[in-house]
Amino acid sequence: MNQTPVPAPAWQQAIFKVLKEGGVRQIAYVPDAGHSHVIRSAIADPDIEDVVLTTEEEGVALVSGAWLGGQRAVLLMQSSGVGNCVNMFSLLKAADFPFFTLVTMRGEYAEFNPWQGPMGKATQGVLELMGIHVLRASHPDEVAEIVSAGFDAAFEAGERVAVLLSQSLIGRKTWGRK
């Protein structure tokens, strides 16, 4: 490994700032490139427990357990992971847990991999069917405001909120080994 550290995009730094200043104590995730700065920052922060999941629905239960114990926790996942969560979302509604998730999108912008299409295109609908309010950030300069707005709705009003981070934020994935 001989990688030169590249500064994280400002919008990713803005997301971690919202979570940190909002008192988040647990960050559960299935990784995605768009979440890499927040995950690195969570691992480096002694006041935040980073929890890597084997599948995203674990995170739905985990953040509910954290709330039961008095902590704010958030779930980071890719759009494909939303499909894995569907029945576990019942927990949020049945017990009225606050919920905040950040979802990096695939299958919607300059997508190279057709296997990402079906779930990516269904992601917003699936979330809404399960009673989760959906916000979307598509431009780097709006990420901080929209993430902050969703975060407050979750933890100040007790809502269930997903913020979709558009694939255009992350940009084209390079597949060739040039």
């Binding site: 104590r25 647990q26 559960a28 427990e49 929890v51 890597v52 999941l53 084997t54 599948t55 629905e57 674990e58 995170g59 739905v60 239960a61 985990l62 953040v63 509910s64 357990g65 954290a66 709330w67 039961l68 114990g69 008095g70 902590q71 926790a73 029945n87 576990m88 019942s90 927990l91 049945a94 017990a95 009225d96 847990f97 606050p98 933890f155 100040e156 007790g158």
Partner: protein
């Protein structure tokens, strides 16, 4: 069936909870919830009525949030198997205050007693150890039951306990299904305020 000596589920759970009065308890759906409720309703119990596979990861989130209190997940083999990867997630964190107790009758008790993987070849203690929970054992003797309670109260490391129970159906004892009520009662018992 294997020749293992099986335990009465209600008696096991009642004695375990009597010996761990400070524990925060999450139950899996179905019979495990009935067993915990039958042992005496407590404000510090959280009963799942759905979200199958969610008991163990919910216990992890709670254990991380409340490191000074023992957290016990009491669930069945079917519920645990649906979220079996969460044992890897728990092992990666190794919360000292989390114990997973699986009441294993080798069957899906709520749906007609179909055989589950744990009576079709899966060794759950080996699975837990393989995922990285080093302290994983079968509680069969009265001594090992005492040991389970002692470990819960000691909060000295993540523990996985498999209890072979009889595949019977004790009388139903139904805990509240009102999720917000149980959640708010639990949080109030911890001194947490409404948002």
């Amino acid at each position: 069936m294997n020749p293992i000596q099986r335990t009465d589920r209600r008696e096991f759970v009642a004695k375990l909870l009597a010996a761990t009065p400070d524990a925060l308890v999450i139950t899996g759906l179905g019979s495990a919830a009935y067993d915990v409720f039958a042992a005496g309703d407590r404000d510090r119990n959280y009963y799942l009525w759905g979200a199958m596979g969610g008991a163990a990861p919910m216990g992890l989130g709670l254990a991380l949030a409340q490191p000074d209190k023992p957290v016990v997940v009491i669930t069945g083999d079917g519920e645990l198997l649906m979220g079996i990867g969460s044992l890897a997630t728990i092992a990666a964190k190794q919360p000292k205050n989390l114990t997973i107790v699986v009441l294993d009758n080798g069957h899906f008790g709520e749906t007609g007693m179909q055989r589950s993987h744990s009576s079709l070849g899966t060794d759950l203690v080996a699975v837990a150890k393989g995922f990285g929970i080093a302290t994983a054992f079968i509680a069969a003797s009265p001594e090992s039951r005492y040991d389970t309670a002692r470990r819960i109260n000691a909060r000295q490391g993540t523990v996985f306990v498999q209890v072979f129970i009889e595949a019977d159906e004790p009388p139903r004892a139904l805990p509240p299904r009102d999720g917000p009520f149980v959640k708010n009662r639990f949080r109030t018992a911890l001194g947490l305020k409404p948002f």
